[in-house]
């Protein structure tokens, strides 16, 4: 190959500087493309965290009969402690249950007035190890038959829906990430191809002077990588800006709890972006290598 580092560095630098139109166009395109992909990644992470939180919220409530004895309550507690499917549980005693009910009826004063502590059943709040629907139903049927238990409830429908949703959402996010990656690759490759088209005559001449394909390719490849690097740095800056302006302000809105998970640390954004920039550089390199190839057939 007889490739000379000095030659490659000089050649790349000159190409970058002498064709500012092409350089600027490539850098902007790469920045936009990577920002797009970066947003998809961040949203993906938010959705993942969100789905995790939904699963964390799954709980089974074991209502204790009003006429259950203290021994029966202890027995329930003991079986809960033994059961390997139970991750955690807590006992809501009469006072706590009454306070909860009061709060629930805040807006319906008549109801709140009617309530007496004795009316409110005590209960165990159980967090299953496996928040999926089958384990939950299994746990329910076990405790349903336990003496002293009045009823076991769980938002079975909700759990099923959450499960489906979190799957759909992650498919959706994979899909969006795939689409934005393909978009990014297309945009970058497009720009490279056009830039090469603009320089096709030069490439032909180099070939005629006796340059090997690699001798011609390498500077273009390095150039592609350099442009991707610049574009990538710009993309990181854009992502940090977006994080501040969009995600964080959304996440910090009191009411919209759903977006609570979209509060990303700046370091997360940067770490998230580094592989992206690397991928961009690889695309830049391979894309340039390929695009130049079309004009090497002389």
């Amino acid at each position: 190959m007889a490739l000379n580092l000095n030659y490659v560095a000089r050649e790349t630098g000159q190409n970058l500087i002498r064709n500012p139109t092409l350089t600027v166009a490539s850098v902007i395109t790469v920045a936009i493309a990577l920002t797009l992909a970066g947003v998809a990644l961040l949203v993906g992470e938010g959705v993942d965290k969100l789905a995790g939180k939904f699963r964390d919220d799954v709980q089974i409530i074991i209502f204790v009969s009003p006429d259950a004895t203290d021994e029966q309550v202890s027995a329930i507690e003991a079986s809960l402690e033994e059961n390997p499917e139970v991750a955690d549980f807590s006992y809501v005693d009469r006072d706590a249950a009454f306070a909860e009910a009061q709060e629930l009826f805040e807006d319906q004063p008549t109801m709140a007035d009617l309530l007496r502590p004795e009316d409110v059943p005590t209960s165990f709040r159980v967090k299953p190890v496996n928040p999926d629907i089958d384990s939950v139903l299994a746990l329910r049927s076990i405790f349903q038959r336990h003496p002293g238990v009045q009823e076991v409830t769980s938002a079975a429908e909700a759990i099923r829906a959450i499960q489906e949703l979190s799957q759909k959402l992650s498919y959706g996010v994979y899909f969006a990430a795939a689409v934005s990656s393909v978009t990014a690759v297309l945009l970058i490759y497009n720009t490279i191809r056009t830039a090469m088209f603009a320089r096709r005559r030069e490439i032909e001449v180099m070939k005629l002077v006796g340059a090997t394909n690699w001798f011609i390719r390498v500077p273009f490849i390095i150039e592609g990588m350099a442009q991707a690097l610049l574009g990538g740095l710009l993309a990181i800056a854009l992502l940090l800006g977006l994080n501040q302006v969009l995600f964080r302000s959304l996440a910090r809105n009191e009411f919209f709890e759903l977006f609570r998970q979209f509060d990303f640390a700046n370091s997360t954004v940067v770490l998230q972006s580094i592989p992206l920039v690397l991928v961009g550089m690889v695309i830049g390199a391979i894309g340039s290598g390929f695009a130049v190839g079309r004009f090497l057939d002389v």
């Binding site: 007889a2 000379n4 000095n6 030659y7 000159q14 190409n15 002498r18 064709n19 005559r201 030069e202 001449v205 180099m206 070939k207 005629l208 002077v209 006796g210 340059a211 090997t212 394909n213 001798f215 002389v298």
Partner: protein, 225 residues
Amino acid sequence: MIRLENVTKVYKGDVVALRDGSFEINKGEFVFLVGPSGSGKSTLFRLMNREERPQAGRIFVAGKDIGELSSWKIPYLRRNIGSVYQDYKLLLNKSVYENVAFALEVIGRPRHVIKTQVPAILELVGLAKKQRNYPNELSGGEQQRVSIARAFVNRPLILLADEPTGNLDPATSVGIMRLLDRINRTGTTVVMATHDRSIVDTMRRRVIELDRGTIIRDQARGVYE
């Protein structure tokens, strides 16, 4: 050094640029290629450095059938052939110096060699003062001389010069012809296409004449017509 065996080149649209052409050029020869516009001179050069491939016949350069050359070997063939193109084919985004240096960089010459050889050859073609200029800042004749310098600079075995004096005044032409002659005397085979009657008639070298793709004359110590 160069041997053509019944070579035929037909372009699309049935333009026969070379019809059943055969000749042999020995090492160290100096050959003029003459013929009217469109008779196939440039095509012949393009066949010899494998820019084009013939429809029939075989071409040997330095003993090798270049029709059988695998494509990654073509650059090595071209490094043994210095070409002065009719349209110069300079790299427009490189300065005069860089254009000439490129031919040396391609073959991996070290920097200090480039730094001495490039200015020397530019001096020889009278462009010492234009080293930093870009091709579009040069006159036609100056561009032509850059092209000549680039073709010479790596001391190729063969020099193919396509009308190297087409845009030069008589005095500069004579200078360039002296240079070609000197190069030829050091053993380089030179093939030169030209329309300049006085040059051919003065030098009295072998003349191959083409007419509409056919070799109609191959004469030692010939004249333009």
